[in-house]
């Protein structure tokens, strides 16, 4: 989960905090949940989104993607992922890191599968343009 949050917010420290918070909420909601792992994943995604949005106002600066990889091609790819709007970034991470299907992603993000499809389409188009 920390890895998922790291890919979404780009900072390891923040990712750990977000995941801790997600587990706290899971503990609080225990008993009322049908599918705790799915709840946890949704919570991490939502917290990451709020966190990034919060940062924008709070610090008046966007998070800078840390340089984590040596391989320049992958570094460039990671940079391009970081430039995506949050929902597109989330769809890409869930699709290509967590290997979720479009239907599963729709459940995590609480939206229609069609929205996932169009977000993925836009994200890939943008990445393709940036990386070509």
């Amino acid at each position: 989960m920390v890895r998922l949050a790291l890919l979404l917010v780009g900072s390891a420290e923040d990712a750990e905090e977000l995941v801790q918070e997600a587990f706290l909420r899971l503990a609080r909601a225990r008993g009322t949940l049908e599918n705790p792992p799915a709840y946890l994943r949704t919570t991490v995604v939502n917290l990451s989104r709020s966190h990034l949005r919060h940062l924008r106002v709070q610090r008046r600066q966007p998070p800078i993607p840390p340089r984590l990889i040596e391989n320049p091609e992958l570094d460039e790819t990671w940079g391009a992922i970081c430039h995506l709007p949050f929902r597109q970034r989330a769809v890409v991470v869930l699709r290509y890191y967590q290997d979720l299907s479009e239907a599963e992603i729709a459940r995590v993000l609480d939206c229609r599968p069609g929205t996932v499809k169009s977000n993925l389409h836009h994200a890939l188009a943008r990445l393709r343009k940036e990386l070509s």
Binding site: R3, L6, L7, S11, A12, E13, A22, R25, Y39, T42, T43, N46, L47, R49, S50, R53, H54, R56, V57, R60, Q61, P62, I64, P66, R67, L68, I69, N71, P72, E73, L74, D75, T77, W78, G79, I81, H83, P85, F86, R87, Q88, V92, V93, Y96, Y97, D110, C111, T115, S118, N119, H122, L124, L127, R128, K129, E130, L131, S132
Partner: protein, 536 residues
């Protein structure tokens, strides 16, 4: 230039994500920020830079490509302590200092352009080779302002820049072999002024916008510090401390546009004649000055602004957890919030109501004047909308209400950062990527969701229109009769990305800042007018 096919792209994405996820976690790798530089601009122009690079590769014979690339994003610059660093960003920093340390009274010290360097988003710098950039003109409000000798970077030629007001320096990029494009491929502009007898850096903003016509093909750069015209106070308390970086805005009477400078802890006004005037804030972060002149008071990250019916200015003083008011005689007072420390968790039904100055208010991010002259406050960290009326704070929308909508996930916080009334008395506010509305009878209605275009960040209402800002720069103009109409693509086409401020006039004109490029635009009936920009 072939497009990546699906499989290759998917493989690269998988590999990159896996590589990041499995990389050793080292918080120390977070790069240091460069003061005065707003990296989101660099991020925002990436596609343009890529496009420019593509054009160059297409037109320029191969041997020249590597030279030009160092202005885009593939230069390798050796630094003493690290492996060669890819200077990937397009930041430019113009360093100057006065040639004479103690200018005679009344005389403007000449300024020497020492170097123009690029700074990437990690803070690494790459000095451009001598002769690549040349200062060609210094203009003030559109007219020539100071004599310019030939000032190639690296040759330290003298240029006279006068203190007071602000000037625009145009710097041309000299790439003589780019003849296919006609004249110079690009130039950029700096705006700022030099304080007498002090040395400073011009920290610059926007970068490489590519080749083409003036609107699309200039490199712009802001320089600091910016001193507003007619601030009317001693420089110690009346100087805007750095670049003008427009944030949230509000329209006052007689065409005055108030502009927050959250990162500078100041509020300025743009007068109808185009000049700027400092309104509040010394530039130092803090809480002080109540009962005295607003110019000598300290603010801490002022965000949203609102103008009352009497012309008084309300400021959401976010980090002070208070709302301040600047009276028409220039005195500043606190009108809401006790400034107290906030609890770890906020009750879902909001913080307790109570007398305005003795009640907690947590991170007010936006304010607007509403029904009966009451002030409505978006309290970001409370996830609530709070009403200030007759000296009392009352929560009118809580996280509970929002979750009841089923539009806001129960794990999600709302973080409202914009609030506005339309003429029917509906209160609009943003909530993550959604635009919500509170009707006069107290029900919350879902009004729109611009997820694909980014987060909703600000909203404003004026005349018949409600405008909403998203982080990718799309404004939704929403005539009340037809609430889904949008004004697509106008903003991106004039280079506005990730804007911070929006205001609406009573005639429905929408004012927005340039997001990255320091600029203020007015949008009216689909037309865009530049009110202020770095290149005047």
């Amino acid at each position: 230039m072939t497009s990546l096919d699906d499989d290759v792209l998917a493989r690269r994405l998988r590999e990159a994500l896996r590589a990041v996820a499995t990389s050793p976690i080292d918080p120390g790798q977070m790069p240091e920020m460069v003061q005065g530089v707003r990296p989101r601009v660099a991020r925002a122009v990436t596609p343009v830079v890529v496009a420019a690079a593509v054009l160059v590769v297409f037109f320029v014979p191969v041997p020249h490509v590597s030279l030009f690339e160092s202005l885009t994003n593939t230069t390798k610059v050796a630094t003493p302590t690290r492996q060669p660093v890819r200077c990937e960003s397009r930041w430019l920093r113009l360093s100057t200092w006065p040639a004479s340390p103690s200018p005679a009274a009344g005389q403007h010290p000449p300024t020497t352009v020492r170097e123009i360097v690029r700074v990437d988003s990690s803070g690494h710098t790459c000095t451009l080779p001598a002769g690549w950039l040349r200062l060609t003109s210094v203009r003030r409000q559109g007219t020539p302002f100071a004599a310019v000798e030939q000032a190639d970077v690296g040759q330290s030629r003298s240029v006279a820049l006068s203190p007071g007001g602000f000037a625009v320096a145009r710097v041309a990029l000299r790439v003589p072999w780019l003849i296919p494009f006609g004249n110079l491929c690009a130039s950029f502009t700096t705006i700022g002024m030099t304080p007498p007898g002090s040395r400073h850096n011009f920290s610059t903003g926007v970068p490489f916008a590519g080749c083409g016509d003036k609107s699309a093909g200039v490199l712009r750069a802001t320089v600091s510090p910016f001193r507003p015209i007619d601030s009317g106070v001693p420089h110690a308390s009346g100087t805007l401390v750095a670049d003008l970086q427009p944030g949230p805005m509000a329209l006052g009477p007689r065409g005055v546009l108030y502009i927050s400078e959250p990162s500078l802890n100041q509020v300025v006004a743009r007068l109808p004649n185009g000049s700027f005037k400092l309104i509040a804030g010394t530039g130092r972060a803090g809480y002080s000055g109540d009962g005295g002149p607003a110019l000598r008071a300290m603010l801490h990250q002022p965000e949203g602004l609102a103008v009352g019916p009497d012309g008084n200015l309300y400021i959401a003083d976010l980090r002070n957890n208070r709302v301040r008011e600047v009276l028409s005689n220039g005195t500043i007072v606190t009108v809401a919030g006790n400034g107290g420390k906030m609890p770890e968790t906020v009750p879902m039904d909001g913080l307790p109501n109570g007398p305005a100055l003795r009640t907690h208010l947590w991170s007010p991010s936006a304010v607007t004047i509403g029904r009966g002259g009451a002030l409505y406050i978006a309290a970001m960290n409370e996830n609530a909308i709070v009403e200030l009326k007759h000296g009392r704070l009352t929560t009118v929308v809580t996280a509970h209400d929002l979750q009841a909508l089923n539009r806001v996930d129960r794990t999600e916080v709302c973080d409202p950062t914009g609030v506005a009334f339309d003429k029917h008395g509906d209160l609009y506010f943003d909530c993550n990527s959604a635009l919500l509305m509170l009707t006069p009878v107290g029900s919350v209605v879902f009004r729109g969701n611009w997820e694909s275009s980014g987060f909703s960040s600000m909203c404003a209402a004026g005349g018949d229109e409600v405008a909403e800002m998203t982080t990718s720069g799309v404004v939704s103009l929403t005539p009340t009769s037809q609430r889904t109409e949008r004004l697509p693509s106008v903003l991106p086409s004039i280079g506005i990305l990730s804007p911070d401020g929006i205001a609406a006039g009573s005639d429905g004109t929408i004012y927005v800042d340039g997001g990255g490029p320091p600029a203020i635009f007015a949008l009216s009936e689909g037309r865009v007018t530049t009110l202020w920009a770095a290149d005047t």
